[in-house]
Symmetry: C2
Subunit: 458 residues, 2 copies
């Protein structure tokens, strides 16, 4: 066990750097034993680091004893080993490994961390595309088994790619906004009142009283706008106590939230958000192609398409187009998660006022509609947003219309009494963006440790 | 009220761009009325955008009527206005404004959002340094009043600077780590078991059962290391149900968390973390000098000093030095928040095993000590970290020694059964880093909407 007994000068080479230019060098390497196969006086290991792997062998002879070969053959899969080995060019490409032009001839092997002999799931089963290998009777791993054993499931090439891409989405989101002059804010998750209506909210015991988990940073982002931060964003958990067991609902997910003051028209906000999304899509396309291809091997999907500028339709146009396509719906029904009639990314603008929260600014030209919008990826909603009411008087009237207890939202309404600029924004679900960008079909695939009404572990 | 009635082509100039090169131009501007002073047939306003402000006047004459001057004089402070004005160079610098070389001669004024006439606090009172203006009987604003009216308090130059700098700390933290090959992860805040002992944890009602709020992402970061992510970080809320009413405790704060596999010695981890902190300090020093100076005007402090490489002392050396300075303490007492005997940033290494969590790796050479460390800024602890035990057997023994219910931490211990690399990390409190970097004295000053046992609002 490495207990920090000593500081070694030894350089550990990375698997992905094992190329023919290192031929005949003696190197040290730390990696997992991906597979192990003994064959007479030889033992073949495949050594893995994340998505990279290399063949390594030990053979009875000058440099290795019979005992060493036996020792190698007995190392459990997924154990972590340090090996000293000579890099050798191979005649024939090793198709099964990422490093196809070399193999390692091991001279010393140390087990750094031994894995237990029986794994709860096999990595090769967990990355098998649906249906493949069925005739050979190969096992597949169902989603709950994967999630129950997430530490092992996350080691697969698919999971590694998904979550490295997710890290990229967050970074692209923030970098784009910081370039646009936004300020990052941190908003509280424990709140005193369930200000957005009170439904679907988790209760927390807070010393001698009760509190709630924030369903969104909405009110706090708006307070920052009233406090002159002009353009703000935040990335953090949001909580929904909704008993929804669907492919796209979680009880806890990561919100990418934006709020900004605008000058004359809330379309300035839509333009900022759609441009941010387009920058994310471009960044993923240009910098995460390996990850996208890796996920596609297991879950094939059409590459994500987007236009510049982003397509923006009015709600009524959307309804008309859906009706033309045979979908029955009323003029003021909410329109979400419809099949994909348009592009992989588009905006639906001007929702009926009745289906939006009380703080949504009514349309100045038609009181049945509102200055609100949703954004869609592959036909599923990923963002909901609007111009917010920045006038305390109108906000009070709209809250009363929605029969909201004014006492409970007093601090919120008071925020607008001392001068508030016109503003708007929206909240994006990180897991949904990753799922839909990659063409996956369950949001649990893009949440490392998903939470839903039936899952609280690991 | 701007309800997005129309899209105007009008360009709004920023206050900070009002310089003599714009002299004699007719411009539009949106800003807050910072102060207002009528004087005969003239009215002087100071117009403000964040930390920038400019003098604007309207005088009865060709371009303005008596009514207009009266109208301007009656606009409440903190209202937001659109003005059309000619930029004029001034003979004598206007010392009270950030834009000292020009003033605005207003021709049209529109009130975009009217503030109520009585403000709960005056901005100039909220930024007054302690003690200043006492003889003139000027008001100061106490901290609770500021926090109760945070939307207004956040408009002060000091608050704007503090939270812009905080946004910078987050970005510097992430950029540095991404450059070092770290991956950002998102960890759940609702957890099924209070795995770190069970004390000081908030309980959440979770459908028909109970859950807890995570006290740190500790276990999840470690699971990611076991899942081959190699180096990970996360930024997110952490929750502590501690009834501590001190200048440095919050019940919810933002954790900047790091975890990484290392090769031979946990000092590799210390070096990564201290270098990250040094990059943050350098970035703040080089890019946030305006903000630092602004905060210093209200809260004077010595500029933050740091060495490269960072000073690392062993715990026993620290104790010896403190004893020499006259502080009485036992060999195994916890050592935190001591007065500043050394540098503005240093590491104390090798804490007694007894004062650290069960998952801390014991020192291989002396079982009374451990491979753990704290980091300090201006003498106060900002990070606690350690090499973690990566061996399921030893972890089980240590948990038993701490009388922890093994059943409750089964999933955690099981994470180490399938091969785990040696690893370590630490968690940093964002608010403390900002407070101590700026030489402030209360963590509520660096939390936008602080939560403590007595405060849940706004």
């Amino acid at each position: 066990m490495v207990q920090s007994q000593q500081k070694l000068d030894r350089v550990l080479v990375k698997v992905q750097d094992l190329t023919p230019d290192k031929a005949d060098q003696l190197i040290w390497l730390r990696a997992r034993v991906h597979t192990s196969r003994a064959k007479g006086k030889q033992c073949f290991l495949v050594l893995r680091q994340q998505q990279f792997n290399v063949q390594a062998l030990v053979a009875v002879g000058d440099r290795a004893s019979k005992q060493m070969v036996k020792f190698a053959a007995n190392i459990n899969k997924e154990s972590i080993v340090d090996v000293e080995a000579v890099v050798r060019k191979v005649e024939q490409k090793i198709e099964s490994c990422s490093q196809q032009d070399v193999e390692l001839h091991m001279e010393r092997i140390f087990v750094i961390s031994q894995a237990e002999p029986r794994l709860p799931l096999q990595l090769e089963d967990a990355v098998r595309p649906d249906g493949e290998g069925e005739e050979e009777g190969r096992a597949t791993v169902n989603q709950d088994t994967k999630l129950d054993n997430r530490v092992i499931d996350l080691r697969t090439t698919t999971s590694q790619a998904v979550f490295r891409l997710q890290s990229g989405v967050c970074q692209l989101f923030r970098d784009t906004l910081i370039n646009k002059g936004f300020v990052e804010i941190q908003t509280p998750k424990i709140i005193s009142a369930a200000s957005e209506g009170g439904a679907n909210v988790f209760t927390v015991s807070y010393f001698k009283t009760s509190a709630y988990l924030a369903q969104s940073p909405q009110l706090y982002k708006q307070m920052c706008i009233c406090a002159d931060f002009d353009k703000v964003f935040c990335v953090g958990p949001v909580f929904r106590a909704e008993d929804s067991n669907t492919h796209r609902h979680l009880t806890e997910f990561v919100g990418l939230d934006i709020e900004m003051a605008f000058n004359y028209h809330y379309h300035e906000v839509i333009d900022s958000i759609t441009d941010t999304m387009v920058q994310i899509f471009k960044g993923l396309r240009d910098n995460f192609q390996t990850e996208i291809q890796t996920v596609n091997k297991q879950y094939p999907s059409e590459p994500f398409k987007f236009l510049e500028p982003t397509l923006r339709l009015e709600y009524t146009e959307g309804v008309a187009m859906l009706r033309e396509a045979g979908v029955e719906m009323g003029d003021e029904d909410d329109l979400r998660s419809e099949p994909e009639p348009w592009d992989h990314f588009y905006v639906l603008d001007k929702y009926p006022l009745a289906v939006r929260p009380f703080y949504t600014m009514p349309d100045p030209n038609n009181p049945k509609y509102s200055n609100s919008y949703d954004m869609f990826m592959r036909g599923e909603e990923i963002l909901s947003g609007a111009q917010r009411i920045h006038d305390a008087q109108l906000l009070t009237e709209r809250a009363q219309h929605h029969q909201i207890d004014l006492e409970k939202i007093k601090a919120y309404i008071d925020s607008f009494r001392y001068g508030a600029p016109p503003h708007g924004g929206g909240g994006i679900g990180l897991e949904r963006v990753c799922m839909l960008y990659l063409g996956l079909h369950n949001v649990r695939q893009t949440s490392m440790f998903p939470r839903d009404p039936k899952r609280l572990t690991p």
